[in-house]
Amino acid sequence: MLVAVLSIFVGAALAPLLVRLLGRAAGWVLGLLPLGVFVYFAQTLPQIAHGESLRQTYEWLPLLETPLSFYLDGLSLLFALLVTGIGALIVVYAGGYLAHHHQLGRFYVQLLSFMGAMLGLVVADNVFVFFIFFELTSLTSYLLIGFYHTEEGSRRAARKALIVTGGGGLALLGGLVLLGGVAGTWEFSRMLDLGASVQGHPYYLAIFILVCAGAFTKSAQFPFHFWLPAAMAGPTPVSAYLHSATMVKAGVFLLARLHPVLGGTALWTGTLGLFGGFTMLMSAWLALRYTDLKQILAYTTVMVLGLLTMLLGIGTEAAITAMVTFTVVHALYKGGLFMMAGNIDHGTGTRDLLELGGLWAAMPWTMAGGVATGLSMAGIPPLFGFIGKEVTYEAALHMHTWGLLVLVASVLANVALVGAGLLVGLTPFIGEVKGAFTRDPHEATPSMWVGPLILGIGGLAFGLYPSSIDHTLLQAAQAGILQESHEVHLALWHGITPAFIASLVTFALGGVVYAFWQGLRVSAFMEGVGAVFGWGPGEVFERGLYGGVHLSGAITRRVQNGQFRWYLCATFLSLLVLVGGGMLAGGGGAEFSFSGEIRYYEVALATLILLSIAAAVRTHDRFVAILALSVGGYGVALVYLLFGAPDLAMTQFAVETLTLILLVIVIVHLPGIQGDESIGVRLRDGLVAAGCGALLTTIMSVVIQTSLDLRVSDYLAQKSYTEAEGHNIVNVILVDFRGLDTMGEITVLAIAAIGVYVLMRMPRQKKPSLAAGTSVAASRSDAAETETD
C-alpha cells in the first residue's frame, strides 16, 4: 500500500514533464495512474469481503515510533476505491477542462498530491501518519481552491477553507494524542476493540470534542459549513473531486473509523445526530435559493455530509448500511453532476439556471451523463439514488426513540434534494433555448463527457443490480465501521413498506418544489433562511478574521515601532524576567565560588574582551562599535579554542567574520550614533544590560558547579569510530548520530533565508507620518535580520 500511495506522489512530480511532452493528451496518460491503483485495490476485494483485513508496516525511523503503517479493511477499501476511481475520471476530465490553461502541469501536481494525501489518509493505520495526510489534504486543497490565484475571490475562498480545516486539524491533533495516550497504542487497528476502556476514561469527553471539531470542520457541518460552498471558486474538476470522493469525506471517514472506539454513547449519538440532522435539513433547503449550478450542488453536498454524520450518530446496523450506501450513491452522482456543470459552463458560458435550457440537441453526451446522475440525486428509481434514499428511511424507521423525528427531517431534506436534483439534472437540457448564450452551445470534448457518463452508468448499474456490491464492498465497509459482520442486502423493490410510502411522499412534495421553484426561491421564508444560516456564520468568520488582522496590526505597530534599540531592550528584558524570575521562584540561589588556576593568557583574553566592550559602549561611530564588538566575538572564539573546542571556535570565527562583513555593508550607510538620548533611556538600557550580564554570570556559575554526567559523552566518544566511522565526534554527531536534528536545522535555516527574501520583496508601506524615518528604520531592520541570523 505504501507503493500505491507513493506512486501517486511520484506521478505528481512527473506530471509537469508529461504535460510538456504530451500537451493535452497528458490527462489520458496520467489517468492511468489512479486507474492502476484502483485496480490494485479492487483485486483485494474478494479477500476483504471475506472478512479479512490487510496490515502493512514500514519502519522508516524506528526510534521515532511512528512506523508508516497501513490498514486496509472494508471501510478503507470503500474510500480508497472512490478516491482512485473517481480520481482517474477527474484527471482525464481536467485535461479537457484546463486544456488551454498555461499552468495545466502545475494543476496536475496539486491534484495528484491531493489524491495521494487522500488515499494515504484512508489507508493509514498509525495515528500520526493519518494526521499528516489529513493536514496534507488541507494544504493541497488550499492550493487547488486558490488555483486561479490572480482572482481575489479564489484567494479568499482558499484562505477560508485553509483556516477552517486547518484550525479543526489542530484540535484533531490534540484529540488523537489524547486518544492514543488513553488507548495505549498509536495504531487505529489496535484501538478498534478498546472502545469500552476509552469510553470509560475521564478524558473521553475531551477526546470526543476535539475529534468532532476536526471532523466537523473538515466535513463542513454547521456552523462550519460556509467554507464548502465558497470553495467552488476553484476550477470545476477540483469541485467535482473535493465534493464527491475526497476532502469533505475525510471528516466523515474519521468519524466512521473511530466509531468502534468512540461511538455508541449517548453523547456520540446526540451530538452527531443533532449536528448532522440540522446541517442536512438546513443546507438542503439553502441549496434551492441559488440559481448557479455549482452553488446548488455545493449546498447539497453539505446536506449529504450532514446526513452521513447523522447516520453515523445513530449507529445502528440499518443506519450504517444506509451510511455506506449513501457514500457510494453520493460519490457517483456528485462527481458526475459537477463535471456536467463544468461542461455546460464551458459550452455555453453560463451556469445560471435562469439562462439555461434546451441544451439536449447541442450537448447529447453531457445530457446523458447529467440526466442519469441528476435523477440519481433526486432518488428516482431505478437509479442507485433511490436505494440510497430507501435505506435512509429504513434506518429512521428502525430506531426505537426519535425515529419519527429523524424520518420527518430526512423526508423534508430529501424533498429539497429531489427538487435540486431535477433542477440540476433536467432543467438545463429540456425545453426551449432561453437566453442568448455568450458562446455558441457546443458539446465538450470526449475527455469531458466520458466522466459523467461512466458515473451515470455506474449509478444505473448499481441501481438495477445492487447485488453487485451489497454483499461484497458495502458489507465489508459496514463491518469495518461496526466491527461486527451483518448481512447487507439491497433491492430496488421491497414491496409496499413504510419506507416506500415515505419515498412516494418525498416524490410528490419534491415535484411540487420543482414546479414552484421560481416562486419559492425568492419567497420571504427562503430569504430568511438564507440570511440566518447561509452567510451568517461565514460573515461572522470574515469579521472575526479581519478583526484579528486589525488587532494584530495594532499590536505590531506598538511593539515593532522600527526602533532596533527598543526591540533589543524588550528581548533582553523578557529574558531577564522569564529566566531570572524563574530562577528566583525556583529558589535556586548560586554561590559564586571559583577554584582552579588562572593563567596569564586567560587574564589577557578577558581584558581584551572587556576593553572591546568598553569601546563599543563609548564610541559614537557605528563602524567602530561593530568592529569593537567583533573583537569581543573573536575573543570568545579564542576562549573556545583554549578550552579544547576547536570546532566551536572555528565556527565562531567564521560566523563572526561573516556577520561583521554583512553588518559593515549595511551600517556604513547609517548616520552616526547621535548620543543625545535622555539620561532616563540610558539608565534603562544600562540596567537591562547589567541585569542580563548578572543573570548569565549566575547561570554560568551554577553550571560549572553542577557535576557533569559524562555517560552520553563517553558513549559517543566510544562509538564515534566503531559505529559512525569518524574520529571527529562533533561532526559525527552533526551528520550521523543526530543527523535528524541537523536536517531540521538546515530546513529552518532555509526557511529563514526565504523569509528574509520575501520580507525584502514586500512593497514598502507608505505611512505619511513616518515617511521621513522609513529608510532608516528599514535599513535598521535589515541590520537586525543579518545580525540575528
Binding site: 567564521a654 566511522e725 569518524g726 538546515i746 527574501y757
Partner: protein, 145 residues
C-alpha cells in the same frame, strides 16, 4: 562596491583560496575539526568578499545559479541521503559506507555522510547569499554603488 585597491587585489587571491579552504574543511570534517557547516560559512565569506569587490551583478553572473537553487539542492541532498538508506532497507538517515579501490586515488572509504554534509554546506552558502542579494535588491546601492 568599495573602491579599495588593496581589498580588490587581495580578494583576487583570497576568494579562490577561501573556496579551496572551504572544500578542505568540508572533506576533513569527519575525522578532524571541520565539516559542512564551517565549510559553508567559509565559502559564504568568500562569496561575500567577492560581492564586496565585484558587485552583486557580477557575483550573480559568476555564481551561475540563484541562491535559492542552492537552498533547494542542499535540502534535496540532505533529505535524499536519508531516503537512500530507506532504499537499502535501513532506518531513515542511516549512514552507508563503501570502500573503493581506485587506480590513481588509492583506497577510498566513502560514506553517505559526505553528500549530507555537502547539503548542509550548500544550505549555509545559499542562506548567506540569499540574504546579501535580497538586501541589495531591496536597497540598490547598499552594496554596489
Amino acid at each position: 562596491m568599495f573602491y579599495s585597491l588593496i581589498l580588490r587585489v587581495a580578494a583576487r587571491v583570497l576568494v579562490p583560496l577561501l573556496l579551496l579552504f572551504s572544500l578542505f574543511m568540508l572533506l576533513r570534517g569527519h575525522n578532524l575539526p571541520g565539516g559542512g557547516f564551517v565549510g559553508g560559512l567559509v565559502a559564504a565569506s568568500a562569496f561575500v568578499l567577492y560581492v564586496l569587490t565585484a558587485g552583486v551583478h557580477e557575483s550573480r553572473r559568476v555564481l551561475r545559479v540563484e541562491p535559492h537553487t542552492l537552498l533547494g539542492v542542499g535540502l534535496a541532498l540532505a533529505y535524499g541521503t536519508g531516503v537512500l538508506a530507506l532504499l537499502f532497507g535501513k532506518p531513515f538517515l542511516t549512514s552507508l559506507w563503501v570502500d573503493l579501490h581506485l587506480p590513481v586515488l588509492g583506497d577510498l572509504h566513502l560514506g553517505s555522510t559526505l553528500p549530507f554534509d555537502i547539503g548542509v554546506m550548500l544550505v549555509v552558502v545559499g542562506t548567506a547569499l540569499l540574504m546579501v542579494f535580497s538586501v541589495e535588491d531591496r536597497l540598490p546601492g547598499l552594496v554596489e554603488e
